[in-house]
């Protein structure tokens, strides 16, 4: 079931210069959310952009009353969202989309998160910690962004932290650290979320090593509920249809189903 709700903003925490952590009261969505799903967010009526903005669910409180969102300010929508004040009402539609597959008992899973792409993986770790065996890699461009990963759930996974420029953590890309893990032992599955180039690289690694891999895609969306056909993702021949829709068939896809050349 999808809900359209006014949720109260409970906390709005500065993570970095341009990232915020929002805690929102929305028991209906919190109760049904699964890792990898997202919500459509609006904090404006007239004085704002047209469309709502899709944001991954980064976690759910233990009492299943609140959801957590991690948002980076990149334009006018995210700017408006991040400047909402505690106590304000935020309009949410969700939970939307298909999340990551549930881990099976004993399944070994490597997660690779690039920057805020860590958000849905963090929810995965929060929800399924214990169900499978999780090893996490989180990468950022530079030290300034490392506080994104300064989070109890991420810490509890013992995640390997990298920065592209080596200003903090391990120097190198997320994929370098992932490759190191893979060299040690092949997992049952890789799950990844982050910038497009990173996902493409992870998909290539998984394909080469013949490991099952799920990626959570960030495509331009309009409705988020399957009504507009706007969020087309070019698929490989194997998928059977030329396009899938990120908001209903995804945002989590089996990486080998995606036509990475066309995308």
């Amino acid at each position: 079931m999808k809900y359209l709700k006014k949720a109260k903003l409970i906390e709005n925490t500065v993570i970095t210069d341009d990232c915020r952590r929002l805690k929102l009261e929305c028991p209906e969505i919190a109760a049904e959310a699964a890792p990898g799903q997202f919500v459509q967010v609006r904090t404006w009526d007239e004085n704002g952009p047209l469309l709502s903005r899709p944001i991954s669910i980064a976690g759910v409180s233990n009492d299943r009353k609140h959801i957590e969102l991690w948002v980076r300010i990149v334009g006018k929508g995210t700017k408006a969202i991040c400047s909402a004040g505690v106590g304000d009402e935020v309009t949410l539609t969700g939970p939307l989309g298909n999340g990551f597959k549930r881990p099976e008992a004993g399944e070994l899973i490597y997660t690779a998160g690039g920057s805020l792409g860590a958000a849905p993986l963090r929810f995965f770790a929060q929800r399924f910690c214990g169900c499978g065996d999780l090893k996490c890699v989180c990468g950022a461009a530079t030290a300034c962004d490392m506080s994104i990963f300064d989070d109890p759930v991420i810490k509890s996974t013992g995640a390997v932290l990298t920065t592209d420029d080596g200003t903090m953590g391990k120097k190198g890309f997320v994929t370098d650290a992932l490759n190191e893990l893979l060299d040690e032992k092949a997992p049952d599955r890789i799950i990844a979320c982050g910038p497009h180039a990173m996902l493409k690289a992870v998909a290539a690694i998984a394909a080469e090593r013949r490991i099952k891999c799920e990626v959570s895609l960030d495509t331009y969306m309009s409705c988020g509920i399957g009504a507009c056909m706007g969020c087309a993702v070019p698929m490989s021949a194997e998928y059977g249809k030329p396009y899938a829709h990120a908001c209903t068939d995804g945002p989590v896809f089996d990486s080998k189903m995606i036509d990475w050349e066309a995308f």
């Binding site: 309009s222 399957g226 507009c228 706007g230 087309a232 030329p242």
Partner: protein, 304 residues
Amino acid sequence: MNKPDLSVKIGNLTLKNPVLVSSGTFGYGWEFSDFYDVGMLGGIVTKAITPLPRPGNPPPRTIETPAGLLNAIGLENCGLEAFIKEKLPFLGGLDTAVIVNVAGAGEDDYDKVVSELADNKDVDAFEINISCPNVKEGGIEFGTSPASASRLIGKLRKKTKKTIIAKLSPNVTDPSEIAIAVEDAGSDAISMVNTFRGMAIDAETGRPVLGNVTGGLSGPAIKPLALYQIYRVSLKVKTPIIGMGGITSAADAIEFVYAGAAAVSVGTANLVNPAAAKEILDGMEEYCIRKEISNIGDIIGKAH
């Protein structure tokens, strides 16, 4: 005051209220059924149906512009057969008018869809999309020439007794010409506007943003343009007009009625707020009660 009478007659079809939802912005109806009982609407217009499935255009297919949405979906749809099997049963079970938006690459395509559904009990009317700006083969051509629009509608008129609504293109010098042509050819109603041709360019790369290069603009940005076209065309035709273009609130909808629309249709607003059409319907009823308008028909075209 008693509940106002919001019903509207379009051809031989009576809509229980004047709020429809526009083709391509409401999926096949069930996508919104978690949010409210979509059967409460006056009618649901389906995504364009073509005889065979269409994959649609390469992404990106939509991009937001100031107060507007550019789209170039390219008529992606599951095709007539899957529509009948998978989508129509849900729509047919609702207590609302089901209006099938019909598109195609040539006259035969339109003919095929209308003929096949002409006697289907779950279908109440056809909206003939002669105005899609996002497919190269056809569509828009019918919509910019009175002669070809008239020939197409005339042909379809012979195939069905159900209500036929011609959906006009706003990308013409004078939409009244086409409106008169399709009225004469037997269209029971006119729906307008479809999207305005537009495009977006990425200043950083210098390249068009949409996979299809150009697209169609919808949303609040076009509201003043749509109102004007409806105001103008309603002076020239007798058939009812279904007005749309940027309707986001009940006040917007009421403005379209004053401009000359017998019914209104909510498009892009559904994508922004999935409960938009319901809120607009509720708001129109409240408006009529507050203004003591016992019959919505009383204010149609009253801005003239």
